[in-house]
């Protein structure tokens, strides 16, 4: 009798799966959301928003974080393959270390949606789609903000330093490259140093302080590109500690960021930071969730689903304050 019930349950389950496959739908699909660390405010806000939209659409989201450990992340991808998740949504830790695991995911037929940073062009076949920001565009906007700020001070020559996010990341390299491209159009403006601040506020303050000293005897620093707004807070603190002038109004050091946070909104309002750009996790996560839903509804995703970005300065601050205050 027990056997009959078991067989009946098996048949019903098969029928239920069969009907779901016949009519493509996100309902009941299992999503492995593999991140780096939810302690990072950007990733935390992204994860929370994505989980909400995906869950509302009937998907089951399993969120695992590697705490920036590439080996742990590879294991998590393998686990997701073994457990036959319907899709892997991934913020990778290391663009090289992730390749073997992504190759296995491709072989297993599990689609991979990359977020935050795409892979190099050589590995395009390993992911289904990248949903996120064009980091070159963020670098360009930061460069334009810097040039605009320096020109507002009447400067035609300037020494600029950059304190970046984790230097080994492709998104960081893209932003710096695009930032340099903008400066290259203005021969008097030179990027004299780029140091790795690892997206960390305190480390950025320390590095900025040392850079201010290094260039103090060589004409001083005119501009600081602190890659994220929390880093801009660190740089601003360093400039203030050094007793140097800050902000365009005082013809002081121009500080720009390239992904907005509440810190940046406060600092731009007070004139301590000149500009930043949008990279709003809640907005990106919502779009990513909709793309995943679209994928399960049979929509063909583009290889690069780029989220539009905007430069932010005092003039349009109000427009972005709510979105950037995550």
């Amino acid at each position: 009798m027990r056997f009959v019930f078991a067989m009946l349950a098996l048949v019903l389950t098969s029928l239920s799966f069969g009907s779901r496959d016949a009519v493509a739908s996100p309902e009941g699909k299992r999503v492995a959301l593999l991140g780096t660390s939810n302690a990072n405010p950007y990733i935390g806000a992204w994860t929370k928003t994505f989980a909400k939209f995906a869950t509302d659409a009937g998907m089951k989201v399993t969120n695992l974080n590697s705490n920036y450990d590439a080996a742990v992340q590879s294991q998590q991808i393998d686990d997701a393959i073994a457990q036959k998740f319907d899709i892997i949504v991934l913020v990778y830790v290391n663009d090289q270390a992730v390749v073997p695991a992504l190759t296995r995911a491709k072989a297993a037929g599990i689609p991979v949606l990359l977020i935050v940073t795409p892979l190099k062009k050589d590995y395009e076949e390993l992911f289904t789609s990248y949903v996120g920001t064009d980091h070159r565009e963020l670098g360009r906007l930061a460069g334009e903000g810097m040039v605009k700020g320096l020109m507002a001070e009447g400067k035609t020559k300037a020494q600029i330093v950059a304190v970046t996010g984790a230097a080994q990341q492709l998104n960081v390299q893209d932003r710096i490259a695009a930032f340099k491209d903008v400066l290259a159009k203005h021969p008097g403006f030179e990027l004299v140093a780029a140091e790795d601040g690892k997206w960390n506020t305190a480390l950025t303050e320390k590095i900025t302080g040392e850079l201010l000293v290094r260039f103090n005897a060589r004409g001083g620093v005119d501009g600081i590109f602190a890659m994220a707004d929390n880093q801009a807070t660190g740089s601003i603190q360093a400039v203030e500690s050094a007793g140097l002038k800050l902000g365009v109004a005082d013809k002081g050091i121009v500080v720009v960021g390239s992904n907005c946070m509440k810190d940046g909104m406060i600092n731009i309002k007070s004139g301590k930071q000149y500009a930043t750009a949008t990279q709003i996790p809640t907005e990106e996560a919502e779009i990513a969730a909709k793309k995943v839903i679209g994928h399960f509804n049979g929509e063909k995703l583009k290889k690069y689903e780029l989220v539009p970005v905007h430069g932010i300065s005092k003039e349009n601050l109000e427009q972005f304050t709510a979105g950037c205050s995550y």
């Binding site: 935390g44 806000a45 929370k48 500690s241």
Partner: protein, 305 residues
């Protein structure tokens, strides 16, 4: 004895070489540079002082102090609406309870200190994620200026750090519990035979470490006006490096807070000088790592002889 003299001579020569290297670096002695250096050593120095007590009691290191610092910053910012003093006291209590609980597990239940600290780290990260939803925390009230600024031209953070060093060294040198901690690290059985409660000594070491991390968290939160769980990233490793470079024995029993002050200063000076001299980032990491390793090896050789 002869080897000890040679090792001592090498130590003096090394410190002298670093000092000369620093003093001949353009801009190193400028006011801006000194400020940057003071800021660099203050926060990490406080955590390193706390770490000294843990190492001294023979428990190697804690991988949880950076996370305790970050979580303390979040607690402080979140509770600021209750007033600056209640927020500070609540944060201090939080830091102490978090690490004291680990001290109890290690001291009374003989749990592995590294594993306990890893578990503590995971609990803090998970707990903070649940409590904050991963979002950055901003002050819920006013009064942060109390923890910022300067007194007689010296940053408050640096004054706090020096006060921590003095208090820490006083506890180690002049109090019964301080001497007990060193004895426990040196030989736990002998300490027990001498009537010392080894578990209480270990727990107290963790209490001090938690208090140091909590106050650092408060100061960092006040400095930046915001906080997240990444605020204390990397503090554990830099703190233990400073403790070991200072010459506190990794197996415990021998060391001091003043030595940690020297260790944290040496590391900060090397980092500042390399950056001021324009070394590439890769070379900065490489050279700092090699110097730290060499100094630790030197101590190890000196202790074995």
């Amino acid at each position: 004895m002869r080897t000890r003299h040679i090792v001592l001579a090498i130590r003096i020569i090394t410190i002298a070489a670093i000092a000369i290297f620093a003093l001949t670096t353009p801009g190193f002695t400028s006011q801006i540079s000194i400020n940057a250096l003071l800021n660099a050593i203050s926060f990490i120095g406080c955590v390193a002082v706390g770490m000294t007590f843990i190492t001294l009691t023979g428990n190697i290191m804690s991988l949880c102090l950076g996370a305790t610092l970050s979580a303390s910053a979040l607690i402080f910012l979140s509770s600021l609406s209750a007033g600056i003093l209640p927020a500070f006291l609540l944060t201090l209590l939080f830091g102490i309870v978090v690490t004291a609980a680990q001290g109890v597990l290690i001291g009374y239940f003989r749990a592995n200190p590294i594993l306990v600290s890893i578990a503590g780290l995971s609990l803090l990260i998970g707990g903070a994620d649940l409590a904050t939803g991963g979002v950055r925390i901003y002050p819920g009230g006013e009064g942060l200026q109390v923890f910022k600024g300067r007194i007689a031209g010296i940053p408050i953070e640096a004054l706090y750090f020096f006060a921590t060093v003095v208090a820490g060294q006083f506890i180690l040198s002049w109090t019964r519990i301080g001497r007990a901690m060193a004895m426990v690290g040196s030989n736990a059985r002998a300490a027990t035979a001498a009537g010392i409660s080894t578990a209480a000594a270990v727990t107290f070491a963790y209490v001090i470490a938690g208090a140091c991390a909590a106050v650092s968290g408060v100061l960092l939160a006040a400095r930046y006006g915001s906080g997240d769980m990444e605020l204390g990233t990397g503090y554990d490793y830099t703190a233990i490096a400073a403790v070991l470079v200072g010459g506190t024995a990794i197996q415990g029993g021998s060391g001091s807070v003043v030595r940690t002050l020297i260790g944290v200063t040496v590391i900060a000076v090397i980092e500042v000088v390399l950056l001021l001299r324009g070394f590439s980032q890769q070379l900065q990491y490489l050279i700092t790592g090699l110097i730290v390793l060499s100094v630790i090896m030197l101590h190890t050789i000196g202790e074995r002889r």
